[in-house]
């Protein structure tokens, strides 16, 4: 890629961000007054896109962006007020802008006339705005405040000189506007010996009397904005002048140094850009991988060294400890690079909700909470579809029509809540609505109808609610344009499972439903419990473990069709013999004196017990895909590389729970089960 292409690429990357920014605010626009900061953001976004597009000669894009920019400029300066329908139009205009950017990016000319309609309306808005001065009072006050006497504080940065800007020329230009007195502040000037010849040390305090307006003064400094500290302050501080936004912003002159170029248009984004850089995800991933390796290598080194180093080598031990700590910190630091706030994801939803509420004829308010919660970027990306689907589902099936709501004594406007929080090293995302909730009877009947459960099955409320995640539950009857695109909640569940998370639903009929997604913070590491069975070691995800018990042999019952069950505080728990599921042989291995049942929770909240020989301790492991070079194996969720460099398998609890009990080729295994019972029996005796 040559430099030019690279610049172009950067421009498009930026456009994406800018468009998102535009859309974020556009989604909150309403007729009448709006948040000035948001309007400023929108204006800047369009402005930046226009500027970039101009450099690359995307003429159609420039033209459209120009008109949109003008409209936004008028709106933000209060010269135009958004009428009913305008906010929606501006959002559409944002779409057009996005299409034009996409066309420019792909190099394919956008459809002719794509932007015509929107362009015409923008122009009409501009013409209309000029014809009827929207707020004459405001105009007037702006005019008053704009003209008069100003104090200007001007401190050029080194960068300004480096771009060959000469302060003197600026002073000349200012002098043309009015009566100028300038005083140089030399207090920052160091001794000659310490002076950097190309540094800017001098600042100026100026008074300009009889200037036509602030805008004209700003224009003088247009080319050095961002390269200097610049503040304006009206000299005659009349009370009504203080109302003027520009003056208010320029007001806090107490710390002009700390607030560089407070008034300049591009100071905002410039400041933001300087604190973040764009890095390809792949590079970060490589870094994460490498640090993962480092952690393993470090643990291995420590392992082998600890045999050699004893108490006489206190210094060396300390050094090793130090190294361990630093490595951990490094790992945490690198992981944090991948973490991003959920804000970027959540911000898509106001718009979706808005569009959809119109389509469905339901009035819906979306409440967002916990947008600052940070999650691994990969997870954020993978969450977009499931969350969109769930929100649509809530709005389509969950919320009632306005009439039904009123009839049920609820406010006409429905509420969909999207919230996120960290809990126990996992992230919980909730999507809830205050709609009609799930009707257990209906759900059950439908599941029976679709052949998912037997009509005489006795299920708890939770189990019935969990049925909606079963493949084949979503049926043709409910396929609508909105949520029933042939995908149901089972797809949502599968997507979440792929991320190592789980989704549950709680519902109260008539009051609403809450879907809860519990996800790992990152896909790269996992807290696991190392267990051993017949000489093999496996990792059980700690998040699935409920408790560990030592089952009483007399309480364990074998089922006629194979498998065993045990009681636990009134609940019947199915036992899964890992030795059997993993097809391990106990040949040459002594039978352990006692066996443990690790009680784990499956997807549906059902509990099963994994029968193991020993618990070896808790460990954080680096997750590696088995599928990258091999294939999926039943009962195995993935692999982990442990401190000793060995690969261990991470157990897939749900997979194990649904694996058929081995019976046919069975004699030895039956014997095995019997043995294990004897073993536990031996303990209890």
């Amino acid at each position: 890629m040559n430099d030019f292409e690279q610049f172009k690429q950067t421009f498009f990357d930026e456009c994406e961000e800018l468009l998102q920014q535009f859309e974020d605010v556009a989604g909150t626009l309403q007729a009448g007054a709006n948040d000035p900061a948001g309007l400023d953001d929108m204006f800047r976004s369009v402005h930046s896109i226009k500027a970039g597009a101009g450099a690359f000669k995307f003429d159609r894009l420039v033209k459209f962006a120009h008109e949109l920019e003008n409209v936004m400029d008028r709106v933000r300066s209060g010269r135009m007020e958004l009428a009913e329908g305008d906010p929606e139009f501006i959002m559409q205009a944002g779409d057009v802008l996005q299409d034009l950017v996409a066309a420019a990016r792909s190099g394919v000319e956008a459809t002719a006339g794509l932007e015509d309609e929107a362009l015409a309306r923008l122009q009409a808005m501009l013409a209309g705005g000029a014809a009827q001065p929207a707020a004459p009072a405001q105009m007037e006050s702006a005019g008053e405040a704009g003209s008069g006497d100003f104090r200007i504080h001007f401190r050029p940065h080194r960068a300004m000189y480096e771009t060959a800007n000469e302060p003197q020329l600026l002073f000349h230009a200012l002098a043309v506007l009015g009566e100028l007195t300038a005083k140089a502040d030399l207090s920052k000037l160091p001794e000659l010996a310490k002076m950097q010849p190309d540094e800017g040390y001098v600042s100026w305090q100026m008074e300009l009397r009889g200037a036509p307006g602030l805008a004209e003064i700003e224009e003088v400094f247009e080319f050095v904005e961002g390269d200097c500290d610049l503040t304006f302050e009206p000299l005659a501080a009349a009370p009504d002048v203080a109302e003027e936004p520009a003056a208010v912003e320029a007001g806090p002159v107490d710390t002009p140094e700390a607030k560089p170029a407070a008034k300049t248009e591009n100071s905002g984004p410039a400041a933001v850009q300087s604190t973040s850089i764009r890095v390809e995800l792949e590079r970060v991933d490589q870094l994460v991988d490498m640090v993962g390796e480092l952690v393993i290598a470090q643990a291995m080194a420590l392992d082998s060294l600890s045999e050699l180093v004893d108490i006489r080598h206190v210094k060396q031990l300390q050094a090793l400890e130090d190294l361990t700590m630093r490595t951990r910190q490094l790992q945490e630091g690198v992981m944090a690079v991948r973490m991003q706030p959920l804000k970027a994801l959540f911000q898509r939803f106001p718009r979706i909700v808005r569009d959809l509420s119109r389509k469905l004829g339901k009035s819906v308010r979306l409440e967002l909470d916990g947008e600052a919660t940070e999650v691994d970027k990969t997870i954020i990306e993978e969450l977009s579809d499931p969350l969109t689907h769930m929100i649509r589902n809530c709005m389509d099936h969950g919320l009632e029509t306005p009439e039904d709501r009123l009839a049920a004594g609820k406010p006409e406007q429905g509420v969909v809540r999207l919230s996120a929080e960290h809990r126990n090293g996992r992230i919980l995302i909730r999507v809830s609505d205050d709609g009609r909730g799930l009707n257990p009877e209906k759900v059950f009947n439908k599941a029976v109808e679709n052949g998912l459960v037997d009509a005489d099955a006795e299920l708890s409320k939770e189990e019935i609610e969990a049925l909606i995640f079963m493949p084949g539950f979503s049926t043709a009857a409910e396929i609508s344009d909105v949520s029933g695109r042939g995908v149901g909640m089972d797809v949502v569940r599968r997507n979440i499972q792929k991320l190592g998370g789980r989704v549950t639903v709680e519902s109260t009929e008539g009051e609403g439903s809450t879907f809860t997604l519990a996800l790992p913070l990152t896909l790269a590491v996992l807290d696991g419990m190392l267990v051993s069975v017949a000489g093999e070691r496996y990792v059980v995800p700690l998040s699935a473990i409920v408790e560990t018990v030592c089952p009483d042999a007399s309480a364990i019952r074998a089922l006629p069709e194979g498998g065993t069950v045990m009681p636990l505080r009134g609940e019947t728990i199915r036992l899964i013999d890992l030795c059997q599921s993993m097809n391990l042989s106990r040949l040459g291995q002594p039978e352990p004196l006692r066996k443990l049942a690790v009680i784990v929770e499956t997807e549906f909240g059902r509990r099963v017990g994994l029968v193991v020989d020993e618990l070896l301790g808790q460990q954080q492991v680096v997750i590696k895909s088995l599928e990258a070079n091999y294939r999926r194996i039943e009962g195995v969720a993935g692999t982990a590389i442990l401190g000793d460099g060995r690969v261990r398998l991470i157990l897939d609890i749900d997979g194990l729970a649904t694996m058929p009990v081995r019976n046919p080729d069975a004699r030895p295994q039956d014997g095995d089960t019997a043995n294990s019972e004897e073993a536990t029996g031996g303990l209890s005796a």
């Binding site: 093999e536 088995l626 599928e627 990258a628 999926r632 194996i633 692999t639 460099g645 398998l649």
Partner: protein, 175 residues
């Protein structure tokens, strides 16, 4: 050759191959059981000595398990067993030849690396059609020198059933 010698020989051969721009291709040959096999040197990523692997549950016998190779988890296929022989009795003298097929890396457990062969395509003879045995298809040809026969492995076919089709399997499963 043990793993270290084999690595050196391979590196030399690759360097030599760059210099002599003949149309002869180079192959790494190795012994498994009583037979000699070879794969294109391009597909060989690494050669290392045998270390204990982590076994996988409910897999065919010839899948010996998985190994951590600098952070990647690779399956190790027992070549002798895959081709219908018995399980290899492993020792530290045994060698794992790591090959790349379609973006995937797989380790082949063999007895020892034998040689680096250089042969033009016409010297490789097709597999005689007489054999109805299934594993015949995993050979792409034979390189016969005097009494010594080296079977050229078609890695895609050799590893296909376990390793390469899995993406496909999964998709169909999901549907």
């Amino acid at each position: 050759m043990n793993a270290e010698e084999a690595v050196l020989a391979t590196a030399e051969a690759i360097a030599a191959g760059r210099e002599t721009s003949s149309d002869a291709k180079q192959y790494v040959s190795f012994a498994a059981g009583d037979e000699q096999y070879a794969v294109d040197i391009i597909s060989v990523r690494e050669i290392k000595g045998w270390t204990d692997v982590t076994s996988l549950p409910n897999q065919p016998d010839h899948v010996r398990g998985v190994l951590n190779l600098r952070g990647a988890v690779l399956p190790i296929i027992d070549l002798q067993c895959r081709l219908g022989g018995g399980l290899t009795e492993t020792s530290p003298r045994h060698v794992i030849v790591i090959v790349a097929v379609d973006d995937r890396q797989v380790g082949l457990l063999v007895d020892a690396v034998s040689d680096i062969l250089s042969a033009s395509d016409e010297r490789i003879q097709p597999v005689p059609e007489t054999s109805g045995r299934e594993d015949a298809r995993v050979f792409s040809g034979f390189l016969t020198e005097e009494e010594q026969m080296v079977a050229m492995l078609d890695l895609t076919r050799l590893l296909g059933s376990e390793v390469l089709d899995s993406a496909l399997h999964e998709q169909t499963e999901l549907q």
